[in-house]
Symmetry: C2
Subunit: 148 residues, 2 copies
């Protein structure tokens, strides 16, 4: 799927709350959906659509960063599962969703794009073991240790 | 999320039509959903839940295989987009979905787990540029060139 650089929202905007970036990628926290507060997105800085377009070395850089975010979520939040996805049907600019999922969350065990399973009383963010701003700091620290 | 090896469907069964395997992973074609015929799954042979549990070298092996499958889908089918995902909420045994998506498919641009967008007349598989058994052969050939 083609989408020009000029028309691409991920070339124009950050795509979320900027957490940390390098010349190759940036990591943002996604604040679009209060049901899933522990939701980061790694966005490849270059406007490429498909993961396999990257060189092998770039793919390793990309996925080691994704894995570092996942490890932070696992260590800090003890989620039921972490979900990883690179879809890009709407915005074909390479980005990886990294989402902590919990048995109590609104859609579990469905994907976040699937059918809602339950109503969650109160704010989902308040149920997390650490505040989101603190979680961001752990992500920054973890990504500082990743080659890029 | 914990699930014992003994109770794990991906330890007991292939998880789809077996296409090719190595000691580290196997690739199956998923035949559960006729809406998405060009759908492969790379299943890590060991019973691990999370991608970040792998060693860096294993992650590279895993994602180079995923990228090889993606390249076959792009080259043979010219899909609108390829979708990659490792979710595992129901079966927390590491597996990667690799799915060719088309503007005409039943759910596009939604994720395959989202809301249906349209009815597709006839078999989706019949719209593909090559038959699925031929596509499998291209996947086998591509994965033969991937380390491990």
């Amino acid at each position: 799927m083609t989408l020009s650089h000029a028309a691409c929202p991920l070339c124009r905007d950050s795509g979320g709350r900027l957490v940390v970036q390098t010349p190759l990628w940036r990591v943002v926290r996604v604040e679009d959906d209060a049901n899933f507060p522990a939701f980061y997105r790694l966005i490849w800085q270059d406007h490429v659509a498909e993961f396999s377009t990257l060189t092998p070395a770039e793919r390793t850089v990309c996925m080691e960063a994704v894995a570092a975010i996942e490890r932070v979520l696992l260590a800090q939040l003890r989620p039921t599962k972490v979900n990883l996805a690179s879809l890009g049907n709407v915005v074909p600019h390479l980005h990886w969703h990294v989402i902590a999922r919990f048995e109590w969350d609104s859609h579990f065990p469905n994907p976040i794009w699937g059918a809602r399973q339950r109503e969650v009383s109160g704010e989902a963010a308040a149920r997390l073991a650490v505040p989101l701003t603190e979680l961001d700091q752990h992500v920054i620290a973890a990504l500082a240790g990743v080659h890029a």
